[in-house]
Symmetry: C3
Subunit: 354 residues, 3 copies
């Protein structure tokens, strides 16, 4: 949403570490998709699948891999264009400057510790004993409960709830509506009613974690629910009490993880995957969309289906299932044919069936 400031292609190539093919004095002022880019835009060509669209694009310049050819404009070649795209977007869309201070409409406890370099937005609430670190951004209408800790440079978007005692590391991004530290779902039936088990533990979110909109991470019964460094969590994900998630994991939208699971480092759970309670998923395992994981998954395994199975078996089942209705018919037919053979051989007296 930033304004457009022109930059010379020569300077841009230098900033990005790219090799320029074209006029270094020409300027561009934005990034745009191939289809809608104009002469003042850089467009992105990730791989050969984009080449067709690129060749008819009106973009003034193209960010490409080293080997792209036939493009109708200047070319910025680089070894890892997907990573360079991040730098390019950052150049044209710098973050809004942080304006430190507490909005007069915010309600901040006198017993909270808000770093003077932090920004607390309109109508945000910060409870007693909460600690808001340097350069933190609390957007409007954020709730940070008593005793919660928000590490430096965290960004909490509107309507985020961080309940009491929850601790966030540094540079954690929490998208709108996410809820950190609601009570875990724990009851004990006493013969008459479900009695609530007090959930007196906490939530720890380490550095560089990102948490999607309306995602929920429950506080643990005792001890802490933990999300380790660098893990990225999409929207509407459920992480139950006492779960521990390793570093650099990826949890796509609507994933649900039941209580006390251990999810390894670098695990990838794609959309709508469900994990039953107390399951251990080894480092680097991957689950395809909608997989239902009821049992432990070894490190590095790739699973699919319900219940989760290794994908090589899973895909073979998928293929075979299509033949299943036909198979039923064929087996019925086989039974008739063998019956006939048996009876004929029986008729001739040569083959009585056991």
């Amino acid at each position: 949403m930033a304004g457009r400031v022109p930059i010379r292609l020569g300077k841009l190539a230098e900033a990005l570490g790219a090799v320029l093919e074209g006029d270094p004095e020409r300027t561009v002022s934005g990034v745009a998709p191939l289809q809608t880019a104009g002469p003042d835009d850089v467009a992105f060509v990730g791989d050969v699948r984009h080449l067709e669209a690129a060749r008819v694009s009106r973009a003034g310049a193209f960010l490409t891999p080293p080997d792209a050819t036939g493009l109708p404009g200047a070319v910025l070649r680089c070894v890892a264009p997907r990573l360079t795209l991040i730098d390019l977007l950052g150049l044209f869309h710098p973050s809004d400057a942080l304006v430190p201070g507490i909005d007069p409409s915010a309600v901040v406890s006198r017993e909270a510790l808000v770093d003077p370099t932090a920004a607390v937005g309109a109508l945000a609430v910060v409870g007693a004993g909460a600690v808001i670190g340097p350069r933190v951004r609390l957007h409007p209408l954020v709730y940070v409960g008593p005793g919660a800790q928000i590490g430096e440079e965290c960004v909490l978007y509107p309507h985020v709830t961080v309940r009491d005692g929850v601790r966030l590391g540094r540079r954690v991004i929490v998208h709108p509506g996410a809820v950190l530290g609601a009570d875990g779902f724990g009851y004990q039936f006493d013969g008459a009613v479900h009695r609530k088990v007090p959930q007196v533990g906490g939530v720890i979110v380490e550095d560089d974690v990102e948490i999607g909109a309306n995602t929920t991470i429950d506080r643990s019964t005792l001890g802490d629910t933990i999300v380790h460094r660098g893990t990225k969590i999409d929207n509407l994900v459920m992480i139950a009490h006492n779960v521990e998630i390793g570093e650099d994991a990826i949890l796509a939208a609507q994933v649900g993880i039941a209580g006390s699971c251990h999810i390894g480092r670098g695990v990838v759970l794609t959309g709508q995957v469900g994990v039953a309670d107390h399951v251990v998923i080894g480092d680097g395992a991957i689950a395809l969309a909608q997989t239902g994981i009821a049992f432990d998954v070894p490190a590095g395994e790739k699973v699919m289906g319900y219940p989760a199975r290794p994908t090589n078996l899973g895909w073979r089942i998928v293929v075979a299932e299509k033949q299943l209705p036909d198979l039923v018919r064929r087996v019925r037919q086989l039974e008739r044919r063998i019956e006939e053979l048996e009876s004929r051989l029986g008729d001739t007296g040569t083959a009585p069936r056991g």
Copy 2:
């Protein structure tokens, strides 16, 4: 929740374009379910399935299709009773009058443009450069970010988040807790960590779209995530970055659509359906509940299961699966029987197996 104002049946029939069978001077003052309706209520008889309950209902009048008979009260016959029910409910439950103006507790940027006919509720926040159109209702605790545009007669319920630059057309209804314009879920692994791809695109929601409670629609990486006119989206739905959804589609609760999908006009995705990234679903396609769509779906196709298959195949598989455990046993038995036959024929020297 409106008060009850009596209306004469004659006048009601006229207003609804219904044919009255009963005393036009009799009055009713509300609409109620068949089971709880009293003599002052109109009850709804949609089709023959409701007739049994209707015949013992205490309702004073019945809204029915043309051919209903044997009802214990006045009858309002109409050609399309389900559509007429909408008018009937509207008559007895008019929307609350809109009281224009900005609540003194709201925090509205001086650089926002709020139409004088709009209503901004208590503790709502409107950012700089935002445009709030005529007769818009922002309920209490709504957040509208900088530069966002809210078209005329939109209704945003409490705790809705509309992030910066998101554009809503006219008469869009957004239910509580929905989040429009959170960052899309995009990272690039650089060999050490997942680097965040800035999500600098927007969200466009066209006229007459309705968005359910706690649903999330992410902003795109570049360009816009788009929901076209007339589409209705239920609660807890996830729409990822760069998705485009056609006109008049229906997305039921907890549907998840991954990045860059194109969903056609009039598509119906029922509860908990998941769609993998970059999938194209043709106009008018329908997916049964919990379907997992990993590949393109042709226009008009009806699919089910994981992975999605045409329903005629899908149901045949479902039927066959029930026989599968038995089938395994039967095939084992066939193998034994044929082995026996082969060995006997082999014994006689007539049939050595190839």
Copy 3:
């Protein structure tokens, strides 16, 4: 999050109705997991699975079933340790004292009725005609709409939305971001567009219900959506309009229940289960995770899979599916073998196939 106050083991045993084995004068001041407990903590040993961890724990005392042996510290034996754990946690983590009164930053309608013993948090909004009962806690940023009723001792966490006319019984707990009373998802296609069916009914939540973070319970078209006494609902659950849920049911995270379903007393729906509209689930039925329930389920039945089937059949199918790819191959082989037999017998003129 409470401070640690030491308590003598003798007194603790008495308070819990436990039999103490150890020094009654020794004190403890908290509860902790076996792995992290220190000499001042009580740790919990629920059953034999915990014994191994318990034997190397540094905990000062152990809460155990009657028959646990070999523990390295004092032992508090009790008949139902999981229930006693609830009391133990309650002793060391009493609820924060309720401070009655309305925060000056809250926006409470003059026409609302707030009991003087209730606490209304910062920036909460209470609409006209709403009734807030004795000892209710409205946390900061809660929205209670016009005419809503909140029974005594309810707790509503931050960012909860209770729309107009919704009624909560006593001791209902609503976690952050939950939305009660959004419009049900109802449209009627008129040949050109989907027309919205006004949702003029309500939501009734009875005593002792707990509702998870970001869960949504929609208002009904006519009449009420009802959750009966004692039912516990986890995070991100969707309950559609006109649903009725019996007493003491358990709905785990991300469950979705479509319109007009009746869910019986004591039903357990585990994570991500989906229920199609108008389905009736009998008392005490159980659905395993991700089950897709499209048809009625008898009382006491245990179901799994899509579509839902009794678990004994379901597990047999799961086992057989693994053999399915192999089965296809075996049937093909059988067909070849029988063909050969038939042709040989045909050759000999003894067995022409019908």
